[in-house]
């Protein structure tokens, strides 16, 4: 039997007491503490396999069972790590930040309540993008989801971690409309209009009366969210698209400066992303098909990849969706801006309501195929990403790219970078692909990641979301006025969760009794 990971201050005998308490409250068929169980909840894309091992897991099937688990955790001061479905691969998946925590796996909670008139949905944590898609399809509802590149996961979990999709509804955390939360005390609270008993507008008006708390439970450890409201996009009359390629790395400035004003004006509303050639090559092929040379890919290989797939150095897809008259007018403006940016090629497409839906992620359809990129190096694959928020400005984007690309070459990494258009910002996603079976390559990831964090910090650029390994590091970069935000977060944490049981260390927020665990 392998050593059982234990949280600070808890003995193995005490862990057995905790397990028995969970079994009495939930039933033995919802409590998982075997060696194999622990292994199945580890981080599947880990850079360091030794970190973040759980002590076990429990799988409540109702809000009442979540409350019961939280009360037991308080009794034994046993840290819980809530997951919705645990599929945010690249950020830690189902694994807890603090080794020895018990995973609170809510993947069995799968209720869906849909308001067809208003286009809103109330979901439990276990509802995956495929489940909601199936519900919409089975009931022939005229709405589209916004889906991320890995849609295996939870609709709620993705939004609560500020996941992104591609459509106009792509900033998922902004579409959250009302939460139900089990507080660390076990008490149940509803936010917004949900606080008003029997209000029919919980998913329609987000603020209620007084302070609005929805965002307080996003990327935080202040409670366990058990229901989430979300707005969905009306199925459009038409979707007009263009897939555009540009030839040179330096074109990035012109692309951003051409389209950013239209994004700010809400003429271009899709969360489009400017990405390089490896985004395609890593999904369709493996590295050994192109070269056996170590280090960053050379220009000869880049040229071969681009030639085979007809790619530019950068590519971008834009979709304009809605009523046909409006969409056509918007599209014409976007097309003129793209034409003026000297593209290498433009491929246009049109979809009209009633035509077969394309399973491409732009049309409310969930997808998982982009995760094929984890197989780029062969072996047991994985990836993590460094994704700072940068200004929506061409010069800033180009300089960020040039700095980062130079670092990829310095560390011998294949560059997979993209620049996502937010409304007033851009997210510079830098993927680091690896094989878990190549220790030499893996050893470079951590210093490389830390270098990128330091480089971005010098520019005033902070990450929007990160892997478990780097939550303390990234939180530490949000340091204005003597770490005032961290102090506020931890004051709130201690007030709500005096025993420090909910997700200690999440987003760099530690409860007082475990602050010694803070990493660097």
């Amino acid at each position: 039997m392998a050593d059982i990971p234990l949280p600070p201050g808890l003995t193995e005998a005490r862990l057995t007491d905790v397990q028995r308490a969970f079994e009495r409250a939930l039933g033995a068929d919802k409590v998982f503490f075997t060696d194999l169980d622990r292994t199945t909840y580890e981080d599947k894309f880990a850079v360091d396999d030794a970190g973040h091992h759980p002590a076990g897991a429990v799988a409540p099937e109702s809000v009442e069972e979540v409350q019961a688990a939280v009360r037991i955790a308080n009794q034994y001061r046993m840290p819980l790590w809530p997951i919705s479905r645990g599929k945010n691969l690249g950020y830690g998946g189902s694994a807890p930040l603090l080794a020895g925590s018990v995973v609170l796996d809510m993947s069995r909670m799968k209720q869906i309540a849909f308001d067809e008139q208003m286009g809103t949905v109330l979901v439990e944590p276990g509802v995956g993008f495929y489940d909601l898609y199936d519900y919409i399809k089975a009931n022939d509802l005229p709405f589209w989801m916004s889906t991320p590149g890995n849609s295996w996961g939870s609709v709620m979990g993705n939004a609560l971690d500020r996941g992104m999709g591609y459509t106009a509804y792509g900033e998922h955390a902004k579409n959250i409309m009302g939460l139900e939360v089990v507080l660390p005390s076990g008490e149940l609270v509803r936010t917004g209009m949900g606080a008003f008993s029997d209000a029919p507008t919980w998913q329609n008006y987000g603020f209620g009366f007084g302070p609005g708390w929805d965002q307080m439970f996003v990327q935080s450890n202040f409670g366990v969210v058990t229901k989430m409201g979300l707005w969905l996009m009306q199925e459009p009359e038409v979707q007009l698209g263009m897939d555009v390629e540009w030839d040179k790395p330096e074109d990035l400035k012109a692309i951003v400066d051409a389209l950013a004003p239209l994004r700010r004006e809400r003429i271009m509303t899709s969360h489009s992303s400017i990405g390089n050639w490896l985004r395609v090559a890593s999904t369709l092929t493996t590295r050994d098909q192109w070269t056996d040379k170590p280090g960053a890919l050379g220009d000869d290989v880049i040229d071969a990849i681009r030639k085979q797939f007809g790619l530019g150095w950068w590519g971008l897809s834009i979709r304009v969706a809605g009523r046909e008259e409006v969409a056509k007018a918007q599209y014409a403006i976007v097309k003129a801006a793209v034409d003026a940016s000297d593209p290498m090629s433009i491929r246009e497409s049109t979809w009209r309501k009633g035509e077969p839906i394309r399973g491409d992620g732009w049309s409310g359809t969930p997808i998982t195929f982009p995760m094929q990129n984890a197989n780029w190096y062969g072996g047991r694959g994985g990836h993590i990403g460094f994704s700072p928020i940068i200004p929506q400005d061409g010069t800033a984007a180009l300089e960020q790219f040039q700095r980062t690309y130079a670092r990829y070459k310095e560390y011998g990494m294949d560059y997979q970078g993209s620049f996502v258009f937010g409304e007033r910002h851009m997210i510079n996603v830098n993927a680091m692909l690896f094989s878990q079976d190549d220790p030499e390559h893996l050893a470079k990831i951590d210093p490389f990641f830390r270098q990128l964090v330091a480089d971005a910090k010098e520019q005033g650029y902070g990450e929007y979301r990160t892997h478990l390994d780097y939550m303390d590091l990234v939180a530490g970069t949000y340091d204005w006025n003597g770490d005032a935000l961290r102090k506020l977060n931890e004051t709130v944490k201690d007030a709500l969760d005096p025993n420090g049981i909910i997700a200690p260390g999440k987003s760099g927020i530690w409860p007082s009794r475990l602050r010694g665990e803070r990493g660097a």
Partner: protein, 137 residues
């Protein structure tokens, strides 16, 4: 490998990484008509009569193992038949071990997500394959 590449290219209009919105590979350059329509995801709504292991397979596995899923694409690089429902060489023990331990890029599936009883139904269903009638519905 060549066969798998052609297969994948036909299915893909987009490629991306994690939450990074993807782009379209303009195969052969620009112009002309746009990408071919990609297949829709396969879910229970497509096969409403499915029960038991077949229904569980659609709910728990098809997101990766149906056409345009990660598992389908990666298995297509190594096997002539990437669709698990059309395989005639799967045993229940192999399916269970692969799912619980993980295999290649496939993460391990915990019991909280798929119970032992559900796993047995899925494994028995796949071991009884191929199921061309079900896939073709």
């Amino acid at each position: 490998m060549r066969r798998a590449l052609v297969l994948s290219a036909a299915l893909l209009a987009l490629a991306g990484c994690g939450d990074a919105p993807p782009q379209a590979p303009a195969e052969g350059g620009g112009g002309g008509g746009g990408p071919p329509p990609m297949p829709e995801p396969v879910t229970l709504a497509d096969r409403p009569d499915a029960t038991g292991g077949e229904a569980l397979y659609l709910e728990k596995c098809a997101m990766c193992h149906a056409p345009n899923g990660m598992g389908y694409g990666l298995l297509g690089r190594r096997l002539d038949q990437p669709n698990l429902e059309l395989r005639d060489d799967l045993t229940a023990d192999y399916v269970t071990t692969a799912a619980r331990m993980g295999i290649g890029n496939m993460p391990a599936i915990p019991r909280g997500e798929v119970s032992d009883a559900q796993m047995k139904q899925i494994a028995d269903y796949l071991a009884a394959g191929p199921h061309p009638g079900e896939v073709g519905k």
